[in-house]
């Protein structure tokens, strides 16, 4: 994985000192909250319902054990013993003191980490495929491209006061494991007819109040043009994105209002100009970065079979372990969704354990997924059993990857000052209702996503089943959506009808799953059945 050189380190260290200065000025009263807010947001520091919250960047969801241990250290030393992994592959701490924030950033900088641009109206963490470097279906590891974009976007002088936040995802396979089409810019690395690698660029996806799937804007941008091209995309947005209404300020609204053709035309015109400026690095820079992502020293000739004689292990093996491109290896997902637990949360002890396991079993590498789980990408098949045993002891062996209890949930009204309703208790109730592992496996792949408000941090629009918490005359109410998908078959969920209270929504979900079971044809996931039979049979099941 990428290692800072002295320039990267100097930049992060300078940022720490800049923020230390800004905090000192804030505490001394030289900066008002209004002046300080955009500055602290650019360092990931929110003021939330209970305290300051700090969002630490985990670039494209990749980190090593040393960095993971630092995340545990921060949870233990500066917070209340836990952290929350987010739908953008970052980690959040809920109980931070402003006075400690500069020291936290200084600690992070010692392990090449930061909280730069994890909030604010700027370019945010570049996300990617959690199976990068391990999946058989990628044309290239997407992460060097993501790292190139990360450096380009960091402290970008022109794009630090955009109309709104800006999120970029990079994948390199036809299968979309990163919800790429639902980003402001989504990039798929592809090979063109000549076999050259480049970017297929989608612009204008997003969730929130007006969800949209990003249209393709360019089918191929060569590596030598990529930064100029995204620069042009951003400049058109910075100049013409709406600034009159925060609910209309994302680039998806601009692309929609101009139309994709006109947006593309403006980008091409800007790109022709930007290309004359020489902002694209030489090929040697992408090569330099890519060298950090060379495959680990895989052993050849390893056994490709696994001893399944422990039935509990076999269940976990079948559900949470995916095929690796190297024989003898596997990709293991650690579920942070224990039934009845808080989705995406991990205690400092669990974080430390996962660091140890990565170091021991996964060439010292972990990934954070946008579904709020942790991946060990390179595990020898022979090590899966001892890995699972260690996870089970720590409550990290829930065998529910992509099952109904593998719920994506935002922090919701329990933590977030933007929320209208609590989301975590709903996740807990649903998971508990469906706790029976055999029942979950019988239901199969069912991606359920819960947001506590229209900002959609829980990605509810992209849930096979989505739930949106709303405030209905001062009471929490929950809307049900069906048929969303964040994969390459991207689609937006459809609201079923009137909402439910916190118990009614669990019953409604169960009526939906019962109807699915009664209608499904062989091998159909819930999403497939829904797309085949349509909305009406489910609406009828829910409301009678």
């Amino acid at each position: 994985m990428y290692r800072y050189d002295r320039y990267d380190q100097a930049i992060v260290d300078a940022r720490v000192e800049e923020f230390r200065d800004q905090v000192q000025r804030r505490l001394a009263g030289d900066l008002t909250e209004d002046q300080f807010k955009p500055l602290r947001l650019k360092n990931g520091l929110y003021l939330q319902l209970h305290a300051y919250m700090l969002r630490v960047a985990i670039p494209y969801g990749t980190l090593d054990s040393r960095q993971m241990r630092m995340l545990g250290h921060i949870a233990r030393t500066y917070d209340r013993g836990y952290g929350h992994f987010t739908t953008r592959q970052n980690i959040q701490y809920n109980w931070i003191k402003l006075a400690d924030a500069p020291d936290i950033l200084a600690d992070l900088a010692t392990v090449e980490m930061h909280a730069i641009q994890t909030s604010g109206n700027c370019i945010r963490n570049i996300s990617s495929d959690q199976y990068a470097g391990a999946a058989a279906d990628e044309v290239d590891d997407p992460r060097p491209w993501a790292e190139l974009l990360r450096q380009w976007s960091s402290f970008h002088p022109e794009f630090s006061y955009l109309p709104r936040k800006f999120k970029i995802a990079v994948i390199a396979s036809d299968q979309d494991r990163a919800a790429m089409r639902l980003h402001d810019i989504g990039i798929q690395i592809v090979r063109n007819a000549e076999g050259r690698l480049g970017a297929r660029v989608f612009v204008g996806g997003g969730m929130g109040r007006t969800p949209m799937v990003a249209p393709e804007i360019r089918d191929f941008v060569g590596a030598e043009d990529l930064l100029s091209y995204v620069e042009a995309c951003l400049r058109v947005y910075n100049r013409h994105g709406r600034r009159d209404n925060i609910y209309k300020a994302r680039i998806k609204i601009l692309v929609h209002e101009l139309g994709a053709d006109e947006y593309r035309r403006q980008v091409e015109e800007e790109f022709r100009h930007v290309k004359t400026l020489g902002i694209d690095p030489p090929a040697a820079e992408l090569e330099r970065i890519a060298a950090f992502f060379a495959p680990p020293p895989f052993q050849a000739g390893l056994a490709d079979t696994v001893d399944r004689s422990d039935p509990d292990f076999a269940v976990w093996l079948d559900q949470n372990v995916a095929a690796h491109r190297m024989p003898g290896y596997a990709i293991a997902t650690i579920s942070l969704k224990p039934v009845g637990g808080i989705p995406g949360d991990a205690s400092a002890d669990q974080i430390d354990l996962m660091a140890d396991l990565a170091e021991r079993y996964s060439f010292d590498e972990l990934r954070v997924t946008h579904a709020q789980n942790i991946v060990l990408p390179h595990v020898r098949k022979a090590d899966l059993y001892p890995l699972w045993q260690a996870l089970r002891e720590a409550g990290l062996a829930e065998a529910n990857l992509d099952l109904i209890s593998d719920i994506i949930a935002c922090p919701g009204l329990d933590y977030c000052s933007l929320a209208n309703a609590r989301s975590i208790p709903i996740a807990q109730k649903i998971a508990t209702r469906f706790a029976d592992p055999a029942r979950q496996r019988a239901l199969g792949e069912l991606k359920l996503k819960i947001s506590g408000c229209i900002n959609a941090c829980g990605h509810h629009h992209a849930g096979h089943i989505g739930i949106l918490g709303v405030d209905r005359k001062g009471t929490e109410n929950y809307q049900l959506l069906l048929g969303g998908s964040g994969a390459e078959d991207a689609s937006l969920g459809r609201i079923t009808g009137p909402g439910f209270d916190e118990d009614g929504i669990v019953d409604a979900v169960e009526r939906v799953t019962d109807r699915y079971l009664s209608l499904r044809a062989d091998g159909e996931r819930f999403l497939d059945t829904y797309r085949r039979v349509g909305f009406d049979p489910f609406k009828e099941a829910i409301y009678g």
Binding site: H50, W95, L98, A99, L413, R422, I424
Partner: protein, 98 residues
Amino acid sequence: MNLLTGNDLATGDVLWWDGSGWSRHVEDAADVGDHGEAIAAAEEGARRVNAPYLVAAVATPDGPRPAHIKDRIRALGPTVRPDLTIKPADPAAGSWVI
């Protein structure tokens, strides 16, 4: 009644105006009536509070109870982590919120 809430600038602790100063406990919160904005401005200007705002509440025998569930969660802490709330040992605290 109207309560005034905010955060401690340095620590981020949730605070409630008690009539003469700031308390971490909503039971101490005072009804600011129509004077909330003036108090907020003065206190924020003096840096005794950060980001203050008004919250509607009803008086009860146990003290003020914020009218909206969001503000009750703010007063107590996350409903899903009773151990992290301001009343970790009180089993009835959760039902006060809901």
